[in-house]
């Protein structure tokens, strides 16, 4: 069989042991599939979405309820975005817990981390584009966090909001950031991430002499497995989109009159919980940046996995990095659960 375009995107063969689901979890590939779903459904949404304060929420209602399959498209976009956060986090965890960030993959690890930040920012800007009463608090808290940054906060806030307080300029800027400012660099970085994966020698494996089995699978088998993953992921995504619609609320009539529940989008609930403890700059900006810095420094400051231990879960040699990630993940999870508690 002659390899087609999709086959050529893959190496001719890869080690069978590291190609197993239980090793990769299929997370990186699923993330790329979800990105494609987001680009396609997002492009379809652009035919109806109107980025003005008066029309935004109404155009989403039109799309959701009056356009044939419009509600399904929106729900797919929503769920693909939420799943992308989860799948990206799982991918990050897999890479750290298998030591797959070891040189020469440290740069690609940083690229991946940057992509994770892009995913969160894209999710947050997309959330704001609803421009309904459900997002008001998150918007105000979010832009106020930017404002709290010493020296540069005022300027950054003005650049982000486009005025003294959120309004039509803000919505237009979030729209532009969502579709161009964030999505285009994220797509380029994704391509770069995939390119570096090939350039760095494909999936992380031990040196040839230390491998238990020389068995490899062909790119044809790999593409078949990916196709199966895409089919299952599509079915799961469709079911989620059908059974649980994306949230909507009444349009914002007065941006200064804050109504509704004080709640950040779910992936920032841990930050919301910390904001109760005092300084917005410290807890809302510095601490999340510190978490990011710790993750970025992880391949540089902590013991690296030895090459003989690559290609399997939980190598002993980089235990410190695994513990760091596990602790960070646990803290974020506990803070999120605390934020989900009903108010006393």
């Amino acid at each position: 069989m002659r390899p087609n375009f999709f086959h050529h995107l893959h190496p001719p063969t890869i080690p069978a042991k590291q190609a197993r689901w239980r090793y990769t979890l299929g997370a990186g590939g699923t993330a790329i599939f979800l990105c494609l779903v987001l680009v396609v459904t997002g492009a379809l949404e652009m035919f109806y979405y109107v980025p003005t304060p008066a029309e935004a929420a109404l155009s989403i209602q039109t799309l959701s309820y009056l356009v044939p399959f419009g509600g399904l498209i929106r729900n797919l976009h929503f769920w693909a975005a939420q799943l992308l956060v989860v799948v990206s986090a799982v991918h990050l965890a897999r890479v750290v817990f298998t030591g797959a960030y070891a040189p020469p993959r440290r740069f690609n690890y940083l690229l991946g981390l940057a992509l994770f930040v892009f995913v969160l920012l894209l999710d947050f800007t997309g959330y704001i584009l609803r421009w309904d009463t459900g997002i008001q608090w998150a918007l105000v808290v979010g832009v106020n966090l930017v404002h709290s940054i010493p020296w540069a906060g005022e300027t950054l806030h003005r650049m982000l909001v486009g005025g003294a307080q959120p309004g039509s300029a803000t919505l237009l800027r979030f729209y532009a950031w969502h579709i161009f400012g964030l999505m285009l660099p994220a797509l380029i970085a994704t391509a770069w991430h995939a390119f570096r994966l090939r350039r760095d020698g494909g999936i992380a494996v031990p040196p040839p002499r230390q491998r238990h089995t020389p068995e490899r699978i062909s790119r044809f088998e790999l593409v078949r497995r990916e196709a199966a993953a895409v089919l299952f992921a599509s079915a799961a995504l469709l079911l989620l989109a059908l059974l649980s619609p994306a949230p909507s609320a009444a349009p914002i009539s007065d941006i200064t009159a804050l109504t509704g529940e004080v709640r950040a989008p779910w992936f920032f609930l841990w930050v919301q919980q910390m904001l109760q403890w005092g300084s917005p700059f410290f807890w809302g900006v510095l601490v999340p940046l510190l978490v990011l810095a710790l993750l970025a420094l992880l391949p540089y400051a902590l013991p690296l996995p030895v090459s003989g231990e690559l290609g399997r879960w939980f190598p002993r040699s980089n235990r410190a990095a695994q513990i760091l990630l596990a602790v960070l993940a646990l803290v974020v999870l506990v803070l999120t659960l605390l934020a989900l508690r009903p108010p006393a």
Binding site: L58, Q61, T62, S64, Y65, L66, P68, F69, L72, E221, R224, R225, A227, A228, A229, V230, L231, F232, S234, A235, L238, L239, A241, L242, P245, S248, A249, A250, P251
Partner: protein, 410 residues
Amino acid sequence: MTRRLLLLGSAFLLIALGLAWGLEARHPEPVALTPSLTGYVEYCITCHADLPVISPSHPVETFGCVLCHGGERLALEADLAHSSMRGGGNPSALDVVEESCGGETCHGGTADDERDHIQRVQTSIQVTYTGAITSLRYTFGAQPDLLPFYGVSAVTDTSLPSHTGILQLLAFDPAMESSPALQAFGQNCLTCHIGGLPAAGEQYQRLSGCVACHSPASGEQQVHTLTTSLSYTQCNACHNRGNYDLRSMTFVERSDQAQTRLQEYYQPIAQFTRCEYTLDCVDCHTRTEAMGDGDLHASKADSQYIQCQTCHGTPSALPLTRTLSDPDDIAFRLAFLTPVVDLQLGDTILITEQGEPLWNTLVLPDGTYQLVGKATRQFFSFRPVLGSDCTQTGLDQSSASCHACHAMDR
């Protein structure tokens, strides 16, 4: 193995796609309505096609739903569609009524064109409840005289000049009262005004705001109807339900089961003439008595002024009348809204001491009078006192004086 996974994945995806198609096909076909007053399409009748038109004055093709109710006009999902409705299901609740029913071309106009219903209601005694608050504060020593200071909520008279001299009322706050009786009054009795929600218990159920009177609903049953043909039963949703006990500061529900209309009037010691229990309340009592005249009043006694003599006159004078010569006379508008009489230019009708038309009456050529029940459409004829055997003196013309001879045996 992988091929089996591919097959299984394809099967799952096909099932999910089939489900998506099936659910899409089950969505109701959106039914659009573009009311002429708003020009914006709304889809409420996709689900609410079975609701009756609320009144002939508010045709759905003209008003639609959203103009009065608010809500999300494009949403076809109940929670979202209803999330921004004004006053929940009741857009006439007094805290939102200006937005729902107001506006200068609707019911928030000026006193000059007699479309200031909302302003008048907000200052009316049925909303302020100031008579009860004032007399109880006076009785329990919280104020030295019967001057009105408090209403259920703060209100200012915006239609100056004020004929009563009361420019504003402050919000009555039971927590600021030292008397336990007044605190209990605040706790138990402030539900008796049309802005408030009724007390708990099925027997107290009524709607609040405009529909407290203008929707013929009883109990918890609500109907999508507005009417100006108010039957006495509508008034009885609040009145004639029992009596106050000033010692325990509670309301004591009447224990008897009224069998006749006469018995339905409470106040066991009070007397009633035949027309008081044969007609409906609104056949005699005017809209400014019930809905206010734009001024703040100190008590019910200051705003309710219709007496027997309004229709019957006195032994020395006929009742006041007006011959309708102006096609813009408010009598025609009122008769149009409650079409029970065919009022014509040149007709002579009775009017009140304040000049309000009793537009459902007619002075007949033989000098007698005719009244048509606004809710019952029944015809009644009656005579003036002048020329009768009545021996009442000119100084005793209140209804209580008439009851001396004309009260019915209960």
